[in-house]
């Protein structure tokens, strides 16, 4: 086996004629498609496969460039959309590019900005000319053409630029829409190539499109490969499609893309996915997940993540991961981070450092196992450690089997790969379950982007709802991420993370409330109320209601609002502190907004608890909540009863609109019974 690898290593593959990129495969796995390679870019030589941490607005979430380097990152990603808005193209030019501005001397990749346009703005329109959308900053209409995207990216000066592509939601059902997008993406690529003013220093990567349709993917591959680009990206995935479909597309693409060029698999960042995609032959990945989860107080470890807010870490004086050599694990204990997590920014920095280092170490391990040609063994050990019960999902075994790596099922007792992890069973289980049950949506929220979670409103979202209601019943609300994802599925829309700090804060506060209430009681009224609002809002936005129905919606909304107000007057310290301050005001505003903008609800303004919160710091700490929250079960019970009356009315309303809401209702209403 080793012999094969070294033969492969001696094969020198010539990359495209791009003067700005040299690519060399160092080792090819003798079993799977995995390969280790070296990509030389104008600013840095990058060792592949690699993970690219996302530095959206010209910084890596509070880390100094030096810290990012120490964590092992060789190439990071910047967002054209954000940087094109602030500081703007002209300023960027004046600064001499992003490298110069942010003091980053390694490689840099920028996306095209198109994705943000489509996902940030509910009112975007794609025409042959480009993407037209309303700026979420000031509401003005903006047109992003391929030429403009490249002009901004030229100003930013990244080593690798991405073409503007026609992004279609992977869940879109219309084949023709994908067909148009596939061909348009190629036409736009030609315009991007034409527009690139700096091909000597900046590479332009095309993006393979075609949704989940093999024929369209094949067409896209044909057309793009013919353009002899320096490298290729696989796009249009990680949008909530089934894993089983996801890996097949990757397999198809890596099978066709020239082996002599780097392959960038967009929006992938979960450990398992990274390992699988490497096996399938992809080389580059990006995801906001490591830094985002850090802001929620979570640290990545093998087999899942530690939520350092949990009390069990209060007197745990071990590092997050004693096999990790990052500066956080070298110097800090779990207990210390526990005392400051979600209270002070330092906690966020510490976890970001660790999480980026974790990703980079994983990629390093993948890379060295490929070079030593024991990648298949690495994968087997890794998966055995990750799925401690060895109950591998089918897509995983299938995907790996497609490249000749076979996972041994549970009956084989090889405990080698199982780390003596410090995670307690409880914690480990929660994380694994969450990860499994939320797979589809997790992908959507965490991978696809670049600080955005895709909007899915109302009943439509519920149709493909993969939500495991058991999860809600079990009350795993401590997991912040999963809770928000659940809210999302019942008609909630999303905000642009970091762009709407107030909404983020409100959302986070809602998260805390939900988490704390559910931990104290089976009843979670806040969640129920907010879910009801969501369901009603969804109805209002999505359906053309009759006058009567409209009236009923308004009435219901009012009553829910009243509930909140009433609760705020009761003497329950929980209700008093939280509902009055946090929900009450935001709610009033929200209602006002709905009433004024009847048809076009501003999708980005943020519903109270609908907002996905990713702000670094909750205004409310665990401690506050825990002490303040002595909930009187009795008053809660009577509240629950009156709320269930409201629930029934919503149910009737949904039925009168002819919507099949069984799933919604079980989801929404289970949480309160």
């Amino acid at each position: 086996m080793a012999g094969t690898a070294s033969t492969a290593a001696s094969t020198f593959l010539h990359s495209s004629s791009s003067p700005a990129l040299k690519f060399r495969v160092v080792a090819q796995c003798s079993v799977s498609r995995a390969r280790a390679s070296v990509m030389t870019l104008p600013h840095h030589t990058v060792h592949l496969p690699t993970f690219m941490p996302v530095g959206t607005q010209g910084t890596m979430k509070g880390l100094l460039p030096q810290q990012v380097k120490e964590a092992g990152a060789e190439i990071i990603l910047g967002n054209t959309y954000h940087l094109g808005t602030r500081p703007g193209k002209e300023s960027m030019k004046a600064f001499g590019g992003l490298h110069q501005l942010m003091g980053w001397d390694r490689a840099l990749l920028t996306d095209s900005g198109g994705f943000q346009m489509v996902s940030l703005s509910a009112l975007s329109k794609v025409t042959e000319e480009g993407v037209k959308f309303q700026s979420p900053y000031d509401g003005t209409e903006i047109l992003l053409t391929p030429e403009e995207s490249i002009a901004i990216q030229n100003a930013i000066g990244a080593d690798i630029m991405m073409q503007l592509d026609d992004v279609v939601d992977v869940m879109e059902k219309d084949y023709d829409r994908f067909k148009i997008a596939t061909h348009r993406t190629t036409r736009w690529l030609d315009r991007c190539i034409e527009a690139n003013k700096n091909p000597q220093r900046q590479n332009l990567f095309p993006i393979v499109q075609g949704g989940l349709h093999p024929d369209l993917r094949a067409t896209s591959l044909d057309q793009l490969i013919a353009r002899d680009a320096p490298g290729y990206a696989i796009g249009g995935l990680s949008g909530g499609e089934a894993k089983d479909q996801f890996w097949r597309v990757i397999l198809q693409c890596t099978g066709r893309l020239p082996p002599s060029k780097p392959r960038y698999c967009m929006g992938v960042g979960f450990a398992v996915d990274l390992v699988v995609c490497c096996a399938l032959g992809a080389d580059m990945y990006d995801c906001v997940f490591p830094t985002r989860t850090a802001r929620f107080g979570c640290a990545l470890i093998h087999g899942g993540q530690l939520n350092l807010k949990n009390r069990e870490f209060a007197v745990d004086f071990r590092p997050i991961d004693d096999t990790c050599s990052c500066s956080t694990c070298t110097h800090y204990t779990r207990a210390y981070i526990h005392t400051i997590v979600t209270k002070y920014p330092v906690a966020c920095h510490l976890l970001s450092v660790h999480n980026v280092a974790y990703q980079m170490r994983l990629m390093d391990n993948i890379r060295s196992s490929i070079i030593e040609d024991n990648f298949p063994t690495f994968v087997q050990d890794f998966m055995a450690g990750y799925y401690k019960d060895r109950d591998y999902p089918t897509w995983l075994t299938d995907a790996l089997a497609a490249v000749n790596i076979h996972l041994k099922k549970a009956n084989i007792h090889n405990q080698e790969g199982v780390p003596t992890s410090a995670v307690s069973n409880r914690e480990g289980n929660i994380n694994q379950e969450t990860q499994k049950s939320d797979k589809g949506t997790d992908q959507r929220s965490d991978n696809e982007e670049r600080e955005v979670i895709k909007t899915k409103i109302g009943a439509e979202a519920l149709e493909d709802d993969e939500l495991d209601e058991n999860d809600i019943i079990k009350g795993h609300f401590w997991d912040h991420n999963s809770r928000i994802l659940k809210l999302k599925q019942v008609g909630y829309k999303d905000a642009i993370l970091d762009d709407y700090p107030d909404q983020e804060k409100a959302g986070q506060a809602a998260g805390w409330r939900a988490a704390l209430v559910s931990s104290h009681s089976k009843t979670n009224l806040v969640l129920t109320l907010s879910q009801l609002t969501g369901a009603l809002m969804a109805l209002k936005v999505k359906q053309s209601l009759t006058q009567d129905q409209d009236k009923e919606v308004r009435e219901l909304l009012k009553e829910v609002e009243q509930k909140v107000k009433m609760a705020s007057q009761s003497d329950s310290p929980y209700l008093l502190t939280f509902m009055k301050q946090e929900i009450g005001e935001a709610f009033e505003k929200e209602i006002e907004e709905i009433n004024t903008s009847h048809t076009e609800v501003n999708m980005e303004s943020g519903l109270i608890s609908s907002t996905v919160s990713d702000g670094a710091f909750s205004p409310v700490s665990t401690n506050t909540a825990a002490t303040t929250m002595t909930i009187q079960n009795q008053s809660l019970e009577s509240e629950a009863n009156s709320i269930s009356v409201l629930q029934n009315r919503v149910q009737t309303l949904y039925q009168s609109c002819g919507l099949d809401t069984t799933q919604l209702l079980t989801t929404v209403f289970h949480s309160s019974h």
Binding site: G62, F317, T333, A335, Y336, A616, T624
Partner: protein, 449 residues
């Protein structure tokens, strides 16, 4: 903890050496000095590796009991003290009761104890609970619990109550100190109280002096009761405070170090040094960071303030004066046209004015990074500044980070502001050493004017 006065300057102020700290037996700290204010044990916004880009590995920290009174069990189990817990081993620690950056609400102290505010709400510290916190934090020196809730407008009754309760706390704390094994070797700072009343301060200091013979082992004095913390402290009238400080110190031993925590502005710091204060903290630069400011005030007497520096300073001042001019113009314009205000003009003027006010610097020692005029300035915050921030980043970048509310903005500002603050204290020591403190005061006055 040992302290020796090295030199009493003719121009006011004194140079001293603080040594024999129990966690740093071999380190000597030159005074006047600043402690590093912390939140949750860390320098605000800075992880230990980044903190060490700006602070020496042995820089003393100021950690408030306020931040740790909810974590006593954790520290108890940890056993190695708060510096080590916060990954800042090697740094010495002074424990104070309250975090000087946060306003301490008035009117919550009673016979039971002192109120402090944590993330979990109000906590009452009795002498016993406070000393428990201090024990597990393992400081090199600490403030004794006292009732310092004596704002300038405090009534006579409040002052005498504060004194009575503080006496009781002090006696109890000192007894607990004697009985504690963990605290042997830790220095005790005796609070100097009396609010804003000279008579009260004299009375308190006399009591302290009298009781010194009864075996109160003071390692130093802490000037308290001058304010109730928070950003307002920088606005306090320096002259009045210095008088009060001098009153307090008058009858007491010259050989002990005097500490005055709080967000004193640079000019007040210099005046307090003149009045004989030795130890301060970095609350002021911290609060400047929190409002997106960068310290730019001049404090170099001996070092030739480089031409660049002056240029930069001039630029700022010019900007300021332009603004002032605008305001002046506007005022006259307002007077003339008050009655016939054209709506159009008013709205635009109004907006600009609003903008200006929003970005207005909060003190004359800093620039505000929210100000649009820095959007294209490709220079460091202070030309010639040797801090990590100024060596690597431009004003324009920090402005960008500030505008998009990225977490890196306060990180970079913290580094610069701490560096500037340390530099300021180094200038103070030089000035005291060469009897030039008055010159430094003048420099601050002119550049802040």
């Amino acid at each position: 903890m040992k302290f020796a006065v090295e030199r009493i300057s003719k121009g006011g102020g004194r140079l001293g050496k603080l040594s024999n700290l129990r966690s740093q037996p071999d380190v000597i700290h030159a005074t006047p000095m600043t402690l590093v204010a912390t939140v949750g044990g860390s320098a605000p916004h800075l992880t230990q590796d980044v903190f060490n880009l700006v602070a020496k590995k042995d820089a003393p920290l100021c950690v408030s009991a306020q931040h740790y009174c909810k974590h006593v069990e954790i520290l108890q189990a940890y056993k190695k003290g708060v510096a080590s817990f916060a990954a800042l081993k090697g740094h010495s620690v002074c424990v104070t009761v309250q975090d000087a950056a946060q306003v301490t609400p008035s009117g919550y102290n009673d016979k039971q104890g002192i109120s402090t505010w944590t993330h979990g709400g109000r906590q009452v510290l009795t002498p016993q609970t406070y000393m428990n916190v201090v024990e597990v934090m393992q400081p090199d020196w600490y403030e004794v619990l006292c009732d310092a809730d004596t704002p300038p407008d405090a009534s006579k009754k409040r002052l005498s109550k504060s004194a009575a309760m503080s006496k009781s706390y002090l006696t109890q704390c000192l007894k607990l100190h004697k009985d504690s094994n963990c605290l042997q070797g830790a220095g005790v700072l005796i609070p100097l109280l009396g609010g804003h009343s000279n008579a009260e301060r004299v009375r308190w200091s006399k009591w302290v002096a009298d009781n010194a013979q009864d075996g109160i082992e003071a390692a130093g004095y802490s000037l308290l009761g001058l304010h109730t913390n928070g950003p307002k402290v920088e606005k306090i009238d320096a002259k009045a405070v210095c008088e009060l400080v001098e009153t307090s110190l008058g009858s007491l031993s010259q050989s002990l170090p005097r500490q005055a925590s709080g967000a004193w502005n640079p000019l007040t710091v210099v005046r307090l040094v003149m009045a004989g204060v030795d130890i301060f903290d970095s609350t002021f630069p911290y609060l400047v960071t929190e409002r997106c400011g960068a310290l730019t005030f001049l404090h170099w007497l001996t070092r030739d303030p480089s031409i660049d520096n002056l240029q930069h300073q001039n630029k700022r001042l010019r900007g300021d004066s332009e603004k002032n001019q605008n305001q002046d113009e506007e005022e006259t314009w307002n007077e003339k046209e008050k009655e016939s205000k054209s709506e159009e003009l008013e709205s635009t003027e109004g907006k600009e004015n609003q903008c200006d006010e929003e970005v207005n610097v909060k003190s004359s020692y800093e620039i505000c990074l929210k100000d649009k005029r820095y959007a294209e300035v490709q220079e460091p915050l202070v030309s010639g500044c040797e801090c990590y921030t100024c060596q690597n980043f431009t004003i324009a970048y920090i402005h960008h980070l500030t505008m998009v509310k990225e977490l890196l903005a306060p990180v970079l500002l913290s580094i610069h502001n701490l560096h500037h603050w340390f530099g300021f204290f180094s200038s103070i020591r030089t000035a005291v050493g060469s009897d030039q403190l008055a010159d430094l005061q003048r420099l601050l006055q002119t550049s802040a004017a």
